[in-house]
């Protein structure tokens, strides 16, 4: 171990016996363009509406779809007054501000991209610094209407709806999302993890595992 901390940028020195100092070879400087890209993590957010209310599941995976973290929210059921007062903003508030934001913030693993299968959660983009994509259903009329617009990231294909970003951030999110999606494994199906999340939620319910204090 070097006895004296060398000035920044100078090679590391360590002291042998009898006061000899030897310079350790500095590691080669790798240009930024040649450095391997930082590992990419994706978040998959789904919100279910059940008799007990709205609850969310959030799965964080690597580029190969392997799970890194899973979070589950408690169920929230708005009462009549809240429904009246929030009116049309209730669903986006619950999905994006309340459930989505809380799950993403509480997760230990940060993500580069969030994918959701609920349009109402798309407003989560207003709270985050990373792109949020909506994986729309193949027959969703609103999605099909937006598919030709500037917020389309991936067009609709056979049996699959388009992938859309938040319209307000289309200018930066569309190219950024496409670049991130190009780094995924070829066999990665964006819709597939949502099935796993739903199964995990069902398993939690079956075992009586509920969200305790965060």
């Amino acid at each position: 171990m070097p006895r004296d901390r060398p000035p920044r940028g100078s090679p590391l020195m360590y002291t042998r016996g009898r006061g000899q100092t030897v310079a350790l070879p500095s590691p080669p400087v790798v240009p930024a363009s040649e450095r391997p890209a930082a590992p990419l993590s994706l978040g998959f957010l789904t919100i279910l509406h059940e008799a007990s209310g709205y609850l969310g599941g959030y799965l964080v995976t690597n580029t190969w779809g392997r799970p890194l973290e899973f979070r589950l929210s408690s169920a929230v059921q708005p009462n009549k007054v809240q429904q009246i007062l929030y009116a049309g903003t209730l669903l986006p508030y619950i999905c994006a501000d309340l459930i989505g934001k809380t799950l993403v913030d509480k997760a230990a693993v940060s993500v580069s991209l969030v994918v959701t299968d609920r349009e109402a959660a798309l407003d989560l983009r207003l709270k985050l610094e990373v792109p949020v994509l909506w994986l729309a259903g193949a027959d969703d009329p609103r999605a099909l209407a937006l598919a030709g617009g500037p917020s389309a990231v991936v067009p609709a294909s056979a049996g699959r709806g388009p992938v859309l970003c938040h319209p307000r951030y289309a200018a930066q999110d569309v190219p950024a999302s496409r670049e991130l999606l190009s780094r995924l494994d070829s066999a990665f199906d964006l819709a597939e993890p949502f099935g796993r999340v739903r199964e995990a939620i069902a398993e939690a319910r079956k075992l009586g595992v509920g969200a305790r204090a965060a």
Partner: protein, 585 residues
């Protein structure tokens, strides 16, 4: 009055009179008092209006999370010559596969009670995605039933994979372990197998898990001690005999494995044997057993197997009819009929075996002396000389001339035990009669029948009829010359090539005794190859010729030129072929 025009008087005299009108004056009470304005205090604007709470307007949630081990990124698979999935050079129509949309996902078994562990399995991606992408490269995509086997093994701490022989228990195990290493579920594994199969496992590991380092525990005492107690290699391979001998190292408190896999696990069916005791003493988290014959003689075999796999699961004196309920989803067995739609009609596997010490010594001596002799012949050497040496060496690869030891026979006996236990039938081919006679003696318990040049024509049909009809006759021993043509043995599912012929076309004809129209199940062909011998070199040459043939010529033409040329035969010993003019002489 005059009625005529009356005119009004100009003047009327009115008498005044005085009328007294009493006037009373009273005061109005309301005017007794002066007007006084009054003011009543109004407090409405100063006090807060009353309110009633309608309830909390904000919404709150709580969350709970589980974090999983970070998967390791496997390095890019090293470039290697991928062995072609050995199929007949004659193009076979691809089998009809069931087109299923069901993806194979891990399902936690019933006895996994920790919720986080259950989540870890549930949240894994489907195996089809894992093998279909870039993350896990395999030479061939596993069959659907093999995906099912991998999905069965991975989440289990106790498992018995009891597939019928030939369905790929080795492949399923290797891939399951490989994926578990990738997902950081495990960090070290011990794989125990019979000694003749060590090389086979090594080859399969290199083929199916090139990114997984492994080491074979062998060598002298010091080397083995290091391998057991100090080596950090993630996967260790050992044979049963060495494991038993190294019980002292095995029981070291530092020696612990995340998974212990037993191949040919019927080896421990005798609970009181030393092997079984040592195996049970291994410290481990997961116990997997691979065997094609979980019940060889009685249900006691299965119970003893569970003494390793999951001790305590089957209480003593449990009646046999209660076993299915107890072993539940711990055991998975498929037979050919279950999976035939997934499999090709014919599968060929090469089993490389290490010669026994006696064979090795005899072989090395014969090769050395033989090559010296060939070199001494000089220009007089002919291909016949080389041929004779090759034949001699091949015979030693079959049996040691002095002791009769045979690594191939040991393996064949073990394989036949599985074949017979599954009520199947097998054909064993050799190019000589003498080995067939010796094999018949070793396979006595399986009802062997012989079909070669020493069997008279009259007896041959009786032999064939008996082989087909007698349920106790599980194997027929044939020479290539007599058994290669004109026979229909499509009720046999296994073909063993005890030694190989020069021309793969002849081999194919032999194989096709079983693999032909009317065959209802896949056929499994096993080719024995003695490691580091002439057999391996011949096999390489023939394989290259087969591949070239398949690329260049039509698939249904008889492969007339697949045999070895003179140059190739000379090349087996690095001897230059004679010039053509010398040969003409």
């Amino acid at each position: 009055m005059d009625d005529a025009e009356e005119t009004l008087p100009d003047r009327v005299d009115v008498e005044s009179c005085t009328v007294d009108i009493p006037v009373e004056a009273r005061s109005m009470p309301r005017f007794d008092r002066p007007l006084a304005a009054t003011c009543r205090e109004a407090r409405l604007l100063n006090d807060n209006p009353w309110v009633r709470s309608l309830g909390k307007l904000t919404l709150d949630i709580t969350t709970e999370g589980w974090r999983f081990p970070t998967p390791t990124d496997p390095p890019p698979a090293p470039p290697k010559s991928v062995p072609a999935r050995t199929q007949s050079p004659v193009a076979e129509p691809p089998p009809e596969r069931v087109n299923s949309d069901a993806l194979h996902r891990l399902r936690p078994p019933r006895d996994t009670i920790v919720f986080k562990e259950r989540l870890l399995y549930l949240l894994q991606p489907p195996l089809e995605n894992v093998f279909g992408g870039r993350q896990v490269t395999v030479p061939f995509k596993p069959y659907p039933y093999q995906m099912e086997g991998i999905a069965f093994l991975m989440p289990r701490h106790a498992a018995i994979l009891a597939d019928e022989m030939g369905l790929g228990k080795t492949v399923q195990t290797i891939l399951a372990l490989r994926l578990m290493f990738h997902t950081a579920m495990i960090r070290n594994v011990l794989l125990v197998c019979p000694k003749p199969l060590v090389n086979n496992w090594m080859r399969e590991l290199r083929t199916w898990a090139a990114d997984l380092p492994f080491e074979v525990i062998s060598g002298d005492l010091a080397a083995r001690r290091f391998a057991w107690t100090a080596s950090k290699c993630p996967l260790k391979l050992v044979n049963y005999e060495l494991l038993t001998r190294d019980v002292e190292f095995v029981n070291d408190e530092t020696v612990r494995f995340d998974v212990v896999v037993l191949d040919e696990a019927q080896r421990i069916k005798n609970k009181e044997s030393k092997t079984a005791q040592v195996v049970r003493s291994l410290q481990r988290d997961r116990s997997w057993a691979l065997t094609g014959t979980p019940i060889e003689n009685s249900t006691e075999d299965l119970v003893n197997l569970f003494a390793f796999v999951d001790e305590g699961r089957i209480p003593a004196e449990t009646p046999a009819k209660r076993l299915p309920a107890l072993i539940g989803d711990t055991i998975l067995r498929r037979v050919k009929e279950d999976v035939m739609k997934d499999m090709p009609p014919k599968t060929i596997r090469d089993v490389t075996l290490e010669l026994t010490p006696a064979q090795k010594e005899a072989y090395q001596l014969a090769e050395k002396e033989g090559v010296i002799h060939l070199n001494e012949l000089g220009a007089t050497i002919t291909v016949q000389h080389v041929f004779e040496l090759v034949m001699r060496l091949k015979q030693i690869c079959n049996f040691d001339p002095r002791t009769g030891q045979s690594a191939k026979l040991e393996q064949l006996v073990a394989d036949m035990a599985e074949v017979a236990a599954s009520n199947r039938k097998a054909i064993v081919f050799s190019q000589w009669v003498e080995p067939l006679v010796r094999i018949a003696e070793a396979l006595e318990e399986f009802g062997p029948l012989q079909f070669h040049g020493r069997i008279s024509q009259r007896e041959r049909q009786e032999v064939l009829d008996r082989f087909q009809k007698d349920p106790n006759c599980h194997v027929i021993l044939m020479s290539y010359a007599t058994g290669s043509v004109g026979l229909n043995l499509q009720f046999s599912n296994y073909v063993f090539l005890f030694d190989r012929w020069w021309n793969p076309a002849i081999e194919d004809q032999a194989i096709n005794r079983a693999h032909r129209i009317g065959q209802k199940s896949p056929v499994f062909v096993t080719r024995f190859i003695a490691q580091d011998t002439i057999e391996g070199r011949i096999a390489e040459v023939l394989e290259k010729k087969r591949e070239l043939f398949n690329e260049l010529v039509a698939q249904n033409q008889p492969p007339a030129r697949l045999g070895m040329t003179e140059e190739e035969i000379f090349g087996l010993f690095d001897i230059p072929a004679r010039p053509r003019t010398a040969r003409a002489a």
